[in-house]
Amino acid sequence: MPNKILLIAEHDGARLNLATAKCVTCARSIPEAEITIAVFAADGAAVAAEAAALSGVAQVLRIDHPAHAQPLAATIAPQAAKLAVDYGYVLGPSTTFGKDLMPRIAALLDAPQLSDVMAVESATRFRRPMYAGNAIVTAEVPTGARLVATVRTASFEAAGTGGSAVISTVSVDADLPSHTRFVSLSAAKSDRPDLQTAARVISGGRALGSAENFQMLYRLADRLGAAVGASRAAVDAGYAANDMQVGQTGKIIAPELYMAFGISGAIQHLTGIKDARTIVAVNKDPEAPIFEVADIGLVGDLFQVVPELEKLLSQSQ
């Protein structure tokens, strides 16, 4: 018997989010996986085509409706719950989209949810972090019962392409609520790589002291083709936008290179970067906890180090 998995796609109306391709990899590690991706969109043609090309996907369901122009949990959840009756697993990414939506689906199904799945051990056993990553727990759910889960995307590579899943358009008979209305989205426009998927990330902390000083990090980032992140303290102080926060309550990332300037290394920050391949820390305090996890550490004043680094890197190119 295959394990039927329904995966809710995350997208911006035009493109599939890379998080979904990572969820496919997680789903494929469930034994006997048979993966269906559901695309809730106003017009899901392009997104469904991308989803169908992911390798390991058996089927793509397009649920087109004008109400899906914005991904409202209250609108999607009742429909996803109806579709889910044919599936043993309902998965979504552990992004703000998935964190908002999946528990609403789980409750409608009266199913338990595992958040931030980082490894699949069997059809009923999964590993996930708790206590800001200070404990990794192996959790078991009952055999044969439906499970809802969000996938910690930093733990999985994106599935490749080359698949050719069947796309079908379906409509779901569910009452769509009018009690929740989208007003606006203010997104910082940037040509830099996306923080969640960038190979290189330059991050700044409270020590930057101002939004103007963050410009220094943007210049260095542009030199390296990197995304820019920030600690909570830097975001709280208004030096950086909220979507740049890295950590337990911000973004969990796994870049090849993470460079932290003037970040102390609080546990809540470190939990967001522990899967980074190489961590570089620059801090003027030799006792800063960030040095405990850094692969390369430099004790120094970032206001000297950053310009010098930029200069040296530009000479070599």
Binding site: P112, P129, T180, F182, A294, D295, I296, L298
Partner: protein, 249 residues
């Protein structure tokens, strides 16, 4: 009466460095400082501010857990909440069970808002508020960084991966708090004395008609893989060399 229900969870204080027990059965909690989940403290603060603006008349705080949780309820009362509900149980409470209990309290109290934390920093589930909204069949506005009450609706700014999203929701609704929503007030000594006289009602989980089913078994706790301490370089030249050697620049 215009009422706000706030749920608070007793958790290991965020400053504590949590350690896994050697036998892998859980984390060390003996002698460890316990506090209100930081997001729930923000939830209490937001409810108080809404009441102080005259948009609500009563703030009720609720928790589900063993007798010790009453300390956190008293703290919330000292912050300014009007009354407290303690749903007593020794059992481990999964988010779906917590949501079912909160639904019972919602039915009893008929609040115009239920405010929860966006996540409990022990299980890090980030589920309960959304589940309550589903069971209650009401709107949810999660990860809130700004809340404006406007007649019979609320306009909520949410911290999402792409930036800031604003939703309009009809009341009653569920809101879950993000860190930047507000800064909770400090509790003053006289308030702690006053809080001792405020009503705190104890309810039995079973009597509410909710069973504490265990559907997620936590088999084993392990410490995370440790990153090893790397090398220290002494200047920017050495830093660039080290990056080059690893092929990173």
């Amino acid at each position: 009466m215009k009422r706000i229900l706030v749920s608070i969870k007793r958790v290991v204080d965020y400053n504590v460095r949590v350690r896994v027990k050697p036998d892998g059965s859980g984390v060390v909690t003996d002698g460890v400082k316990m506090s209100i989940n930081p997001f729930d403290e923000i939830a209490v603060e937001e409810a108080l501010r809404i009441r102080e603006r005259g948009l609500a008349e009563e703030v009720v705080v609720a928790t589900i857990g063993p007798a010790d949780c009453q300390q956190q309820l008293r703290t919330a009362l000292a912050m300014g909440a009007d009354r407290a509900l303690h749903v007593q149980t020794e059992a481990a409470i999964e988010p779906l069970t917590a949501a079912k209990v909160l639904l019972k309290l919602v039915e009893r109290e008929q609040p115009l808002l239920a405010i929860l934390g966006k996540q409990a920093i022990d299980d890090d589930s980030s589920q309960t508020g959304q589940m309550l909204a589903a069971l209650w069949n009401r709107p949810q506005a999660t990860f809130a960084s700004k809340v404006e009450i406007d007649g019979d609706m609320a306009r909520v700014t949410r911290e999402v991966d792409a930036g800031l999203e604003t939703l309009e929701v009809d009341l009653p609704a569920v809101i879950t708090t993000d860190l930047r929503l507000n800064e909770p007030r400090y509790v003053k000594l006289p308030d702690i004395m006053k809080a001792k006289k405020k009503p705190l009602e104890t309810l039995d989980l079973g009597a509410l008609g909710v069973a504490a089913v265990e559907r997620i078994r936590l088999l084993r706790f392990e410490p995370p893989a440790q990153r090893t301490k790397g090398t220290m370089v002494k200047d920017v030249n050495e830093l660039v060399d080290a990056l080059r050697k690893r092929g990173l620049v």
